[in-house]
Symmetry: C2
């Protein structure tokens, strides 16, 4: 029995699932993309499993090939979560919001509104957004990294200052005296930097957790600095325990360097389980989604294995000759897993059905395979928890909740119920009122 418990977030996207072809899975209404009832139902399923938070990636652009693939984001992260908040009561809700393409006042207002409406369950993943398609939607091109991150620091500091523009006890609302608020405790922000500025105050009082909690999902040196300074949760993309541990250590060090307690930063590794009674069933489940997309992935699978592969071979395994020549590519961290699966004699389509080209590690088989993976990584000190991407929400969330969660609970690795009511409660983060004195810097009064 472990005394530490893991934390779980769930990827929450387009109404279908984490695969771009999840829309055509059996039993899924292929028009769920616009069905908010379905999205709310999925959030309720995650809440039933005591998942600490939903996490919505976002890029303000259409980047899928719509011929076969659904858009990967929800219609709009904040409006979706406003609806989800109506149908849930405990689960945290973290949305991505671009620091490049949304004004800080608008970010501050909408995230705080969500936080207040949901009684303190909101979180913000500030993203600098590097997709040129997104920039074009705003009549812009993507700026260089220093500028994008310079702006991001300013935006985050202004947003947090706007969130903190009401002191904890500023809102009085006493009908007998007629005093609505203490104006001395609702202060302008007057923050500005090189890229953005805002006067404030925001017209919104604190939520039950004070203000939304920050996440970070960006990598690299710039992303790490940002995470260390502001984030309570870091979403990582990693394919091995050693790499996960290194990423977690780096996030903790960055927090320490920013004057924070490293334990304030929780590191979440991505996970994309394929769960079914047997390994073969799980592979079949994924292959069903890949009818149109797997053939075009065969050449890349070849690259991962150091081979030239032709889509016409998709329903054959590697030949003995190919197997002998295969070498996992050093340029893709997923290659060792692809090599391992190929050596088990599966066809190319079946290898792809193991999720070897997916964005996160894919444990394949019964729920215990996923639970074992999670336990191993967690007990190795590689993560504080996982960010789980479910292939098909319609049945996949229930499967995870009904089969994986109980295993984790039996093993003492996951809580039996929410300990508190706010997202900060769920993460073990303190409520935040006003400005965090440890966070200040590039913004200058003006």
């Amino acid at each position: 029995m472990s005394s530490r418990r893991m934390l779980l977030g769930m990827q929450f996207g387009n109404g279908y699932g984490a695969q771009v072809t999840s829309w055509r899975a059996p039993n899924v209404d292929p028009k769920n993309y616009t069905d908010i009832d379905a999205v709310v139902r999925y959030a309720q399923a995650a809440e039933r499993g005591k998942i600490q938070f939903l996490f919505l990636p976002d890029t303000p652009a259409l980047s899928s090939d719509l011929t076969h693939e659904a858009p990967q984001m929800t219609l709009d992260p904040l409006l979706t979560l406003a609806a989800v908040a109506r149908g849930t009561s405990r689960i945290g809700m973290v949305a991505t919001g671009s620091t490049t393409f949304i004004e800080p006042y608008n970010l501050a207002r909408q995230f705080k509104a969500l936080d207040v409406m949901s009684h303190g369950r909101a979180g913000w993943n500030p993203a600098t957004t590097s997709d040129p398609n997104a920039a074009a939607n705003f009549g812009q091109t993507i700026a260089e990294r220093p500028e994008r991150y310079g702006r991001a620091h300013e935006v985050i500091q202004i947003v947090q200052a706007l969130w903190g523009s009401w002191e904890e006890d500023a809102w009085i609302a006493d009908p007998t005296t007629g005093i609505f608020a203490d104006p001395a405790k609702v202060r302008p922000v007057n923050l500005g930097g090189q890229y953005v500025s805002s006067r404030g105050p925001l017209p919104i009082p604190p939520s039950e957790q004070g203000q939304p909690v920050l996440f970070s999902a960006g990598g690299g040196e710039y992303g790490l600095t940002l995470a260390g300074r502001y984030a309570s949760g870091v979403i990582g993309s990693t394919f091995s325990i050693d790499d996960a541990r290194a990423q977690r250590d780096a996030a903790r060090e960055a927090a320490g360097a920013a004057g924070r307690d490293p334990d304030e930063v929780k590191f979440f590794a991505g996970l994309m389980p394929a769960i079914a009674p047997t390994v073969r069933d799980a592979v079949e489940r994924r292959m069903l989604l890949g009818t149109n997309t797997f053939p075009q992935r065969v050449p890349y699978l070849g690259q991962m294995l150091g081979l030239r592969l032709d889509p016409r071979q998709i329903d054959e395994p590697l030949t003995a000759e190919q197997l002998a020549a295969a070498r996992p590519s050093p340029y893709d961290p997923r290659a060792p897993r692809a090599f391992e699966v190929a050596n088990q004699g599966w066809t190319l389509r079946e290898i792809l059905g193991h999720g070897v080209i997916d964005y996160h590690p894919t444990p394949v088989g019964p729920a215990s395979v996923t639970a074992d993976h999670m336990q191993e990584w967690f007990e190795a000190g590689a993560v504080d928890g996982f960010w789980v991407s479910i292939d098909t929400y319609e049945d996949g969330i229930d499967t995870f909740v009904d089969e994986v969660v109980p295993l984790l609970q039996e093993r003492g690795l996951f809580h039996e119920d929410y300990e508190g009511k706010t997202l900060r409660d769920h993460l073990g983060a303190a409520p935040q009122y006003g400005l965090d004195p440890r966070v200040s810097g590039v913004g200058v009064a003006h």
Copy 2:
């Protein structure tokens, strides 16, 4: 019996009511500002009354004196309506969104998301936003009118083009063929002008009404041009039948000048009823809300009457000498009504309790007084309907729905039930797919 029926919209703001002091009304939870449950309940009450739409004014700034007054807007118009959409099924939902301080792609995405989530019940009131407090929140100052409106035209055209970037039958979602959408029917927008541009497409298919419907609430020549070109509903502020008729005619003419059928534009006059069993009860109701704010309004009441008035006289009527000297100010269209009430012998506080300094005409007394006002204006051809501001939502919406609406229905002036499901249905506006060919202009391909 009239064959034409009036249309009704309802002002929807901060959770309390249309008076800045509604928060302290009896029976109101003084913390309703952050209680989205209450807001949803009020929307449900309006829907019970078959009101065609809620209309949310908005300015991205805190402009109230918080000592005694609540912020006048909802926490956030779009998040509030996403929540309201979950608790209602027929009522239309129109939100104000700034063309100056929100990027067109973000406007397009969020309004279309709301439209899709609500099954075709969304409308947008594009506002150029002239409040310097708002500009300061974005590190800006307010531009001159030609620039603000020049940008507004570009923003509206880009937003509508993004909304129309999917053809009506573009979304296929056929799981047997694996075809999600016809990419030939999802087109980039590539629109740009002097101020803003966007490439598109938006990742959102059409709603049941195609796309959101446009409203306009701005006055003046610039506002009229904009209304004539794009708006299906025009919200007016007016204090007399003659002025209302002139505003309605002007909006219809502007539509004609833009090549549209004038009947496509519905004109709504504001109305702020004070309803109670007797006139005195209605005045008392309003005075209760004015304890802290009425004294400071006495000098302005004096200006309206051509007198110097001292707040210390607040509980006295005008003296005979003052009455003899009083002249309704020609600079305030509300002055004749103030003069009329003053001559009835009410105290200054009671005169203010008649709503003579409110933003819209205030029928005072039993429901029939309000119904009579509405009938008179409507039958005079001055309006297509009303935009009703309820003083206190907690009981005021029910009172309007239970007492005024049945009178209007008995008189054949208001529908018995929603005729259709979308906001366009409610307004008699045709569904809109793709670009309206009658609306194009300043945007240039680039």
